[in-house]
Structures are given as C-alpha cells and as structure tokens.
Symmetry: C2
DNA sequence: ATTTTTGCACTGACCAGTCAGTTCAAATCA
DNA sequence: TGATTTGAACTGACTGGTCAGTGCAAAAAT
C-alpha cells in the first residue's frame, strides 16, 4: 500500500533497526540458547522497545530464522568465493580445500557468536525452524562436497572417499577446532590455527615429516 | 543392568528411578533444549510423578548437571578403555587413535541423544552448569591429548603438531561426521563410517592411494 | 519401620505477544 | 516560505498463559 510516498528503495531506518536486533539476538542466543533468551532482553540490548521487535518480525522464531538465513548466507558466499579464487589462480583442489578451511576460520573469527548458535541448533529435531536450518545447512555443505567431487573427478583425490561423510568430517574439524580456539586459546593467531589444521588435513601428522 | 536385591551403598529402587529420569530427560533435552523442556514432561516420559523428580534431584539444573556428568563419564571410560586395549595388544599410537575414533562412533551410535545435547551445550557461556561442563569436557579431551603427546614422544607423530588443537579437531571430525551419519544417512554401518574417517585421518584422501 | 513414590492443589515469577497511543521526517498545501 | 497532514516506525504498559518449585497426606515398596 504505497499510496503517497514515492520511496526509492527500502527504508534505511528499518534496516538499521533490524540489523541492531540481529546483533543483539545473536550474542544472547549464542550464550543462553533460544528458549532461555527473552524478547525483552533482545530489545533492551538492541536499545529498542519490545514493540519494535514485533513491528519488524512476526515472532521470536521468525526473527531467529531470518538471523539464521542471514548468517549462513554470509558463510556460503565466503566459501564459494574462496573456492573460486583458487580456481582462478589455477590452484588444485587441495588448495581449494585449504582455502575453504581458511575462509571458515576467518568467518568464525569474525562471527564467533553466530557459529556457536549454529552448532548448538544444527542437530536438534522437532523445532520450528528445523526446515530452514536444513536448507541452509545443505547450501553450505554442498560447496565443500562440490570441491571434493571435482577433486575425485580430476583424479586429485582417491575415488574411494565418501564425499558426503568426508565433507561433514571436514566441516566438523574446522568448526570444533575453531570454537576450541576461540573459547580456550583466543590469543593464538588465525595463521597458527590454519597451519595446524592444514597439517592434519594433509596427513602430515603421523610420520616425522 | 538388572541387579536383584539390596545393593551395598545405595538403594536399587532409587537408582532405577534416577536412571529412568536420565533417559527421559536426555531425549527431551536433545530435541528441544534445556529451557524448552519442562519438568512435567520429563516426569511424564519417565512414568513418574513430578514430586519424585524433586525427591531425587534438588532442581531441574541439578538433574541436568548430573546427567551430563554421567554421560561424559561413560564416554571417557570408553575412550580410555580403547586406548589401553591397543596398548595391551602392542599397537602403535596411530592404532590407538583409530581405536578411539571407533570408540567414539560406538558411543554416539548408542547414545545419539546425549551426544546431540552435549554438542549443543558445549560452547555456551553464562549458564549454570558451565563449570561442570568444562571439567567434564577436559576429562574427555585429555584422553585424546594424552595419546597424541605419547605419540609425539615416541616419534610416531611429528613434533610440530599442536596437541591441543589437533585433539579438538579430531574430536570435531568424529562428532560432526557421526551426527551427520545419524541424522542424514542412518542406514550406513558403523564400519563404513569408521573406514571413511580412518582414511581421512591417515591422509589417504589426496593422492590416488 | 523406614524409604520412596504418588497425586494434586497451589504460588509467584516470568514471558510472548498485543495494542492504543506517540514521534517525527517527509510530503503536501497555501 | 512556513503551516499542516500523513503514515511508517516506534513505544511500553498490559494480558493471558506457562512453568519451576512447594507442601503434604496417603499409598506402596523394601
């Protein structure tokens, strides 16, 4: 119903408010979980009245779902970009994998709270946003699976590997190592962590190099 | 676990009730999270009156904490057992690691709900049971770290590996791969999944074997 | 005889969602 | 130009419901 005002593009104010709400919600939910986080808390942390939350989002769950979509969208884009970049530079699939590990670490470094929250919700069942989560998860994992499959086709990886399981294992490796890094040894550098994971990934663990 | 008559130390009946409550709580909390799960639900699922919950546990949080301790205790024991078994058989540290991966998979296969719940809570902050979780986590990770350290000392692993981070990454690999297995391809056999992870662990992914 | 469980009514705190009213910048008017 | 109108955005007190935890007398189990 845009009767009078000739709006060029969406309201900036509204978008800014939504962004503030995302940022408030992500940290609170990462710390406490979805159910333990109240809408009042989110509003207060965002510096906004409770009614504003409901003006901008249909419900607490919807706010959370859109936050999920928003965050995983960023991750997926980042992984794709990393893979394509190596491609452009003529690197092999091992390099692509390594670049994606780094991209994952960079993402987690920048958005640790989102990562926490994502991991905590990913394997729950019977929740309202379950289907959203699945869709969004698949988009991200598919990028890794794609690179693995191309690597197998190119003869760069053994054709005996199980693409789906290996992709999951790789994601888990990065995810858990990174969360451990952020939680228990935050002083370490990204390069340092990346090096440790590269070593593990390339089987340079057993055998004294 | 059917003991017949009065055990020395604690009443068997009480223990049985507590066990029923653990089992009810673990699935409900895995599905819905701690806050979204009500004490009434837990009591009902356990086939017990609400008063009984409070006769056996001081509070909902305490029930959860003891559940956590109980579950991780089982996992830690299982990992230790696997490592010691390989030791006894004269296997190397690589074998020990592999045996622990398998023990992890067996555990997750048997207690998927507990695993879900554990992962969901592990990186949360500011929760009542935070300290319990840390203690219990450390016990489990320490087993893996121990094997890695011994492997480095024995010259079986590169001394350039970062023990703490590598341990975390390994745990993550198994955890996420196993949850993926249970959630998305439950028809696969444990051996199958184990083989895929072994391959990844031993660097038999890049290079066509 | 003692421990454990039951059943159920009750309380008080807490919380998601609502809604009538306010604000204010831009649009329209004079 | 300044005055007035419009409506999207925001506010916060309020409502209806939920839930952790309590209290206790009677029943059951050991």
């Amino acid at each position: 119903m845009e009767s009078s005002s000739a709006r060029a593009g969406g309201s900036t104010r509204r978008e800014a408010t939504r962004q503030k709400l995302y940022e408030a919600a992500v940290t609170l939910i990462a710390e406490q979980g979805f159910s333990a986080t109240t809408v009042d808390e989110i509003a207060e942390r965002a510096g906004v009245a409770k009614g504003t939350v409901y003006y901008n989002f249909a419900s607490k769950s919807v706010l959370f779902e859109e936050l999920l979509r928003h965050g995983v969208g960023l991750l997926t884009a980042s992984l794709k970009e990393a893979a394509e970049q190596t491609e452009r530079e003529g690197g092999g699939k091992v390099d692509a994998l390594d670049a994606m590990v780094r991209a994952g670490l960079v993402f987690i470094d920048r958005y640790p709270a989102f990562t926490q929250l994502y991991v905590a919700e990913l394997w729950r069942t019977n929740r309202a946003w379950q289907s959203t989560l699945m869709v969004v998860r698949q988009e991200a994992v598919a990028v890794v699976e794609g690179v693995l499959r191309e690597g197998v086709a190119a003869g760069e990886f053994s054709d005996e590997i199980d693409v789906q399981l290996t992709a999951a294992a790789l994601v888990g490796m990065v995810l858990v190592a990174a969360l451990d890094w952020k939680s228990f040894q935050p002083e370490r550098s990204l390069d340092d962590v990346h090096a440790a994971l590269s070593r593990l990934l390339q089987g340079r663990v057993s055998g004294t190099v």
